[in-house]
Amino acid sequence: MAPRALALIAGGVLAALTLGPIAAVLIRAGGLATLGPGDWQALRFTLWQAFLSALFSTVLAIPVARALARRRFRGRGLLVALMGAPFILPVIVAAMGLIAVFGQNGLVNLGLAALGLPRIDIYGLHGVVLAHVFFNLPLAVRMLLQGWLAIPAERFRLAASLGLGPRATWHVLEAPLIRRIAPGAFAVIFVICLTSFAVALTLGGGPRATTVELAIYQAMRFDFDLGRAAALALLQLALALVAGIVALRLSRTAGFGAGRDRVVPRWDGQGALARAGDALALLAAALFLLVPLASVVLRGLPGLAELGPQTWHAAGHSVSVALGSTALCLAWALPLANRRGELLSLAAIAISPLVLGTGYYLILRPLVNPFDLALVVTAMVNALMALPFALRILRPEAETVEAEYGRLRATLRLTPLAWLRVVWVPRLRRPIGFAAGLSAALAMGDLGVIALFADPDRATLPLQVYRLMGAYRMEAASGAALLLLALSLGLFWLFDRGGRVRADT
């Protein structure tokens, strides 16, 4: 089949799966409801926190990605792999990890108290942004790092032989790279923060931190006002589309030219100042990301012994959901790796999982028993949710390959199969592995749509964490959260590693 037809089909399915549920909810509601003053206040807060979260995540990621790109040290691979972890933790678990570090009796406050300094208070807008940066900084780092590694090594050698100083190297090589990757990373993070709810509320400290997603939750679960929920969901969608259009317009494809994939020593950034700066960036990022994770691990260890068969079954379901959803996500992402596809996929994550779940329920119910499809729907929605991340990772590389080897294909008259085998897959292996790892891990951690579809015998692990907490089993819940962390990271590592076999990264 022609690639164009494939792209159209993939895009059509994506649009149907995104807009279909909103339409179903709207039809059921009998129209949109008007929004109240509280909703506009929630909208302002939502936009502001999402903007700040995306800004800090992206800007802070630049020095970290740069340091990772030009330094080689022991444990670098492990650090890069662990960077995937915060992003996939269930919100409540991550929030507990952050509180163990930044909370009232957290490490930071214990340190401050020991020095006789006043305690800091994590709750407020800064807490919300802190948590969102914790979740998303690693993602931005990985996206930028991917871009840095895609600069052919010959360019750095050329820069060195031309005697370019750090400033010139920055202008010629690194700044264009950031301009290419950063706006897209900003957009994805902005959109994902638009639908934040539990973390914003918990760390926001109260009703000042009301987000649009909370208003949707209230409309759906408490007021049964589907019209208002649909109106709010459309608002989220419009915001995401605007953010997506602006970001994608800002990011241009850079032309570094093709390289010969040789490992070339870097001559830039060898000064003491640059070394110290990189070390500082890496140390700060590692502490910020890994200390809360370590606290999740420590708190979970005693609970591991308490896990019953139900939790292990749930773990099995989560792994199969994650694998199914990864396969689906990749099958979707490969034909959609272009600007339109990316915009469309951004729309998908901007839709409230609650509205999405309700919409699917309304659509499926006349046809089948939705409970039988609980895991299938979960896998599908998770694939949908992972798609923008997969595309953000794949698209720049896919376009570069097209731009730089397209002439080769024409000259050699490569068949599509040969093109895929010789050029496309080998060159895209690294981003494909990373995208697959991220999809798998994301699917492990997701809880969003399952509320209406929950099947007693086929719970997923995040759901099990909540069930255990609801039954006062806080310790067992911590154990289950640790299991979730280990499995997600394991899957992420396997895929990501698979993509980096025989690669020098």
Partner: protein, 326 residues
Amino acid sequence: MKAPSFAAGLFLATSAFAQGEVLTVYAPDYFVSEWGPGPRIEELFEARCDCDLQFKPGDLLPRILLEGARTEADVVIGLNTDVTKRARESGLFAPHGQDLSPLTLPIDWDDDVFLPFNYSHTAFVYDTTRIETPPESFDALRAAPDDLRLVIQDPRSSISGLALVLWVQAVYGDAAEAAWQDLAPKIVTVTRGWSESYGLFTEGEADMVLSYTTSPAYHMIAEEDFTKKAAIFPEGHYFLVELAAKLAGTDQPELADQFMGFILDEDFQGMITTGNWSIPAALPQEAWPEGFQALDLPDKVLFYSEDEAAALRDEAIDAWRRALSR
């Protein structure tokens, strides 16, 4: 990857039919965990009904309203009083037909549709190793120093959070907003649900957590920990009750009736204490387990009927939001 488990699902479904009739019960999600009351209810009821009781956990009323008269639920268990008005008006529920005289609730209950199975009260729970002298009244809590750290739940996303704003409304009436202003500096944060708050409390992030008068029973019985207590206020505590109801359109009316009767049965009532960590709705105090008898319970119980609560709800939430947004 789906094919084997799907096939297994079909197989299990067919074998279930062979066993007898199926009673479908919608229940809150926490019901069906191995630590929740669901598995024990299922075991006890199946022993007497020659049927297959199947729990379908998840959202209760939103799901039933979406499904309308075509819902496959025969019974729903775990509803709270905040939704009974809406549920009643939907016309989807049928009278339970049970004799209510065995009820041992602290308030009068004569509802012919919604049948209580356990209850509790809102309360601020604290740790005696961290607070030696807890506030002895709601007024004392208001006047407590601002370094007393409270966590509560959001009334817009949680039942207990809603019960709290109704509690403050019942105690302070028109002065509710002023009460919230006094409480505001002590409130560390507001969480989406009870689990998040309770987690923060057990982690030591807060001194007192909005929970239930029955929470200490879990710690006493399951953990032999006697340091968790509920602060009892003479102004009274808001009453929280969990309810079951039969669907009018059930295709298993007899089984559904049998299940409604079973709810008030001594077997069910005796199990629900440690099954759901709540006080049974129809069991005299002498028959409660030891840990429950040791609980501190309020003398005065506050409760709004569903019509009163519906009329007050928006204003009560607004007073909360205004005072805490400042």
